[in-house]
Amino acid sequence: MPVKVMFAQLASCWGCHQSLLDLHETLIDVLPQLEIVFWHTVADYKLHDVEKLPDGSVDVGFTEGFCRNEEDLHLLKLTRQKCKLLVSYGTCSTYGSIPSLLNLYSIDEALSRKFKEAESVVDGRIPDKYVPKMLEYVKPNREYVKYDLFLPGCPPEPPLIAEAITSLLRGEMPKLKERTLCDECPRIKSEVIVLKKVKRDFEGIPEPEKCLLEQGYICMGPATREGCGAVCPSAGFPCKGCMGPGPNVMDQGAKMLSALASLVDYESVSPEELVKTVKDVIGTFSRFTLPSSIIPKSVFKKK
C-alpha cells in the first residue's frame, strides 16, 4: 500500500521543493510508493482539500517555510492535525532562515518599506483587504506545533532527503548526524588556527585546498551541523551555516561569534577592526537562526 504524504508550503521560496526534484532518478524508485494527497506548490490543490481529510489520515507531512501570516499558521496547524508524522523540511521550517531576519524590524516598518518606500513604488499603499493578517514576528514552527523530525538545509541536500525518505519508507526514523561541518569538510586543516587578518568573502581568491577559516574567511563550519556534504566549502565558498547549530547549542550565532573572536591574533586584529570587518554581526553569524536564537527578535522601541 502506498504511503500517504502531503507537502505544505508556508512562507518560503519553493527552493526546498526544487531540491526534492533534484533527486532525479531516485524519484523513480520513490514515487510509486507514495500517494500525494496535497502538494499545492506543484498542482492545483486547495486548502479545503486538506480540511476535508480525516484527522491523522496522512502518514507523513512535510512543511516548508515559516509562519509569516495567519493563513500559514492555519495550514501548519492543519497539517499537524492530519499527519501521523510531521517533518520539518528545510531551514525556514526548522530555524526560521534568512527571511526571518526581518525580526530585526517591526512588521509596520517592513510593510511600509515594501509597499510605500521601495524605490520602484509610486503612490503606494499597504494592502489591507483580502489578505491574511501578518504575524508580528517570526517564531520557529516548533513553537507552534510538535514535530517528529527535522531536516535542515537551505535547501536540504538531495542525498539527505533521499536518505530520510527511504528510511521513512522502511519504517525507520532517520537520524541527523551529530558532528560539526568541519568534520566532513575535505579541506586541509592545521592543528592551531591563528588569524592574522579577517577577510570578507569577496577579498582575494581562496587557496583551493586549505581550510577557509585559516585563510581568514568567516566560515561558519565550527558552529554548524554536518549533513550537507560540505558543498559550499568544497566549492571555495565559506559556509554560511544553513544546517543550523549542532546538538546542544542554544545559539549558533553566539557560538560562532565566540569562536571567531578566539581565533584572531590579538596583536594583529584589534576589537574595533574585527567589528569593522564583520559589519553585520547578526546577518553574518545568525543568518539562518535568528528566530531560534536566545534573543529571537529586536526589541522594538515604543513611540
Partner: protein, 139 residues
Amino acid sequence: MAGDFEPKILGIFCNWCSYAGADMAGTSRMQYPPNVRIVRVLCSGRVDPQFVLKAFELGADGVLVAGCHPGDCHYVKGNYRAERRIALLKEMLKQLGIEPERLMLRWISASEGAELVKTTEEFVNMLKELGPSPLRKTS
C-alpha cells in the same frame, strides 16, 4: 517609576583577578551597591556569549564582565578573547535593540577593590539613567 528603579546586574568575574578584587573590597569593608550578583568563572575568556544573551533574555538590566588587565591573564590570552567577543556582542545587542552600554567589560586586578567599587557605582548610576532593560519582564 524612574526614582525607585534598582537595576539588576549580572557580574561575571574571573577567578584570578576580578573575583579576588571583589574579595579584597569585601575584606576591606568597602561599601558598594548590592545590585550586582557575581558569578565566578575561571577566566574572562570562559565567558560564552550565550551567558550574556541568556542573562539579558532573563531580564538582567546590565551585564558586567571583569577580567585581568591585558598582559596579566592567568591563561595568557583569555582576556584578549573576551575583549573581542564583547566588542562583537555589543554590536549584536545594538542590532537587537538593546543599548550596548548595558554590557560592560572592565579590567580589575586582585588589588583593585576600590576600582571595583567605583566601577559598580558608575555602572549602576548609568543603568538608572538608561532605565529598565527593554527585555525585563514586568512583574
